[in-house]
Amino acid sequence: MKIDVDLTICLLHGQCVIAAPEVFSFADDGSLVWVTDPDEGLRADAEAAADACPEQAIIIS
C-alpha cells in the first residue's frame, strides 16, 4: 500500500491524524508527516483517513 498526500490541496484539518494516528501525524512545526508505505494491516485506518479528509487530499494505491 502506498500513501500519497496532495499537499497543494491539504489544508491541515488533521482529520487523518485522528482516523489513522499510526499513519499520519503532525511535526512540531505543524506540517503533516505520514508513512508512505505502511503495512497492509493499516489499510482500513488509511481508508478511514482518506474518507475523513475534507479536501480529499489523500490518495491510496
Binding site: H13, G14, Q15, F26, D29, P54
Partner: protein, 405 residues
Amino acid sequence: MSGPSIIIVGASLAGLRTAEAIVALRPDARVTLVGAESHPPYNRPPLSKEAIQALADGSAPPDAVFEKLLLRSRLNPEDVNLRLGRAVTGVESDGVRLSDGSLVRGEWIIAATGLRPRRLPIPGMESVRHVLRSFDDAQGLAAELQPGKRLLIVGAGFIGCEIAATARKLGLSVTLVDPTPQPMLKALGARVAAAMAQLHRANGVHLILGRFVESFTDGSAILDDGQRIETDLVVEAMGSRPNTEWLSGTGADLEDGVLVDGRMVAAGTENLLAVGDVARFPNPIFDTVPRRVEHWSIPGVTAKRAAESIAALTDGKEPDAAFAPMPSFWSDQYGMRLQAFGAPTLAETQTVIEGDLSRVGTEPVIVEYARDDRIVGIVGLGANPASLAKHRSRIADASTPFAAV
C-alpha cells in the same frame, strides 16, 4: 440466499459513505441510493468559501468548480442502484415512494436526507433573497456577488460568517444581522464569539447584533428597532431544518431530526436508521442526551456505524462497543482557520491556554472549554495543528470516567 435490500435516502456525504460501508461489509447487499438533487454526491463546505468565490470571480468555469466538489468514491457503478433527481415522498409497508410515483422496495431504510435552510417567514424582495445549501444555490448566489454590491446576511452562524468573509474578499459591502449578542455564539461561547466579532469588524463587515429583520420594503430591510438597511442582495443564513417529513407515520421520533440509539437505529422502529445531519444520537463522551450534530465529520462516522449495525443485525447479532465519535468542525474566515474538537457548545467555562483573544487573526490562540471541571472542547484560532492535536487528546482522556459509567 440473497443479501439484505437497503434503501439509502439522501445522496450526499452521509448517503454515499453509508453505501460504501455497507458494500464493504456486506458485498451481497442490494443497495439503492436515492437523491433529490440531480448532482452526484458532492462536498458542501467549500460552497460558502472557495467554490462560491471561484463561481463569482469567474476564475474557474462551473463544471471545473463542481469537479473539485465531487466526492471520490470506492464504489463501482454496479455496486449500487443510484436514483438521482428524485425525492422520496413517503414510506410504505415494503419500501419508499419516489416523487416520480415509482416504488423502491427494501427491507432496511436509512435516512440521510440532511437539512434545508430555514427561511424568514416574511414577504418582500423575493427575487434577491438567497439561501446556501446546494451547488445550485451557490451558482444562483454567486451570479449576484459583484464588487460594490450591498449584501445583507441574515444570521451570523458559521455559514453567514463564512459568506460574509468571502463576500468581503470579492469586494462587496457586507452587513451581517443576528438577534444574538455575538456571531457563532452558541457554537463558540461568549469570549471566542466576541473575538470573532472583532475579526469581522476589522475586515469591514457592518455587524448589527441583538437585532432581527422585521420586514422588507423596496430595496431595504427594516430591523426591529426601525433601522433601515438598504441592500441589493439578501442571504438568509439562519440555520437549518431536518428533512424528515417523509418519515411521518413510521413511528420514529421526529422531534428534531430522527432520534436514534448508538446503533443509529430509530427509536420505535426496527428497520429504519438515520445518519448524518438528521441523526439525533447520544454521545457517551459527553453525556446521555441525544443531539443532532451538524459537523462534517459526523456523516462519515454515523454512516460506518449504521452499516456495522445492519451487518450485525442481519446476522442476528448486536453491533459491539459504544458509539462515541469525537466531534470536530472547522471554519475558514479571512484566511484564518478556526478548528474545534469536542463540543464547545456544552461548556460552562472558557480558558485561553495559548495566545491572546484580542489578537485573533494575527496570532495563534487556543481555548479550552470545560463543564463540571471536565474538558469538553478545544478551539484553535489560527493555531498550530500539532499543538491542537496534543490538546485534543485531553478531551477523550477527560471523558473516560463518564464513558465508563
